[in-house]
């Protein structure tokens, strides 16, 4: 952001600096995600729009997900979570 040269002055008529000021906006958008189910091996790929962590800190675990099976002949014994992909970095 910057002020057009010569357009803003103080009470002594000294012009404001036209040097740009940089402001970093805070990310307030929550991550969203999609789920793709693979019928062949009874697994699902969950893809978030950005890197995510467990709210309690650390890497995500299976407990961050709710999985349920509604079936008269099949019951869910459990499920595991494996990171699939790492993109980029968050800087030093």
């Amino acid at each position: 952001m910057s002020i057009a040269p010569g357009t803003v002055v103080d009470t002594s008529s000294k012009p404001a600096s036209a040097a740009p000021v940089t402001v970093t906006l805070v990310d307030t958008a929550p991550p969203s995600f999609t789920v793709q189910f693979h019928r062949g091996n009874l697994s699902a790929t969950v893809t978030f729009t950005e890197p995510v962590l467990a709210a309690a800190g650390g890497n995500l675990t299976a407990s961050a997900f709710g999985v349920a099976v509604s079936s008269a002949v099949v019951s869910l014994a459990g499920y595991t979570l494996t990171p699939l992909e790492v993109r980029g970095g968050w800087g030093v």
Partner: protein, 133 residues
Amino acid sequence: MRMRGCLDLCVCGLPRQAPPHSFVLILNVTGTPAGAGVVTINVVAAAVVDNQGNAALPLSPAASFLLPDRVAPTLVAVQASKSTIVVNASEPLVGSGIGGAVTGVDVNVSLAQAPARELVSTSVDSLTNSSFL
């Protein structure tokens, strides 16, 4: 004074690795799915956050998918006459014919005892799913 190892020096300037975007959930189920069950998947509310602490919102409704059919169809001959056998299957069938129709080439018929006449050919005359309704 001993110098620090090279590995320590080399990694100092690397950017911190971001957590992953994508995960694989592997379901462990008991029983054999028959194509009628549904699995629902969602995040637990306030359990997943980005690096600013913004919590991922659960899907509404949750993502749901049909479980596959892993049960093979079974055939039961329910009525036989001189030249016709009426067969019921435990579920709808798909054959090699047009549109997945079951045809004569999908069926093997043999005579267990030597008959006076040989089995010349077989064909599927009709197919109905009425028994599954």
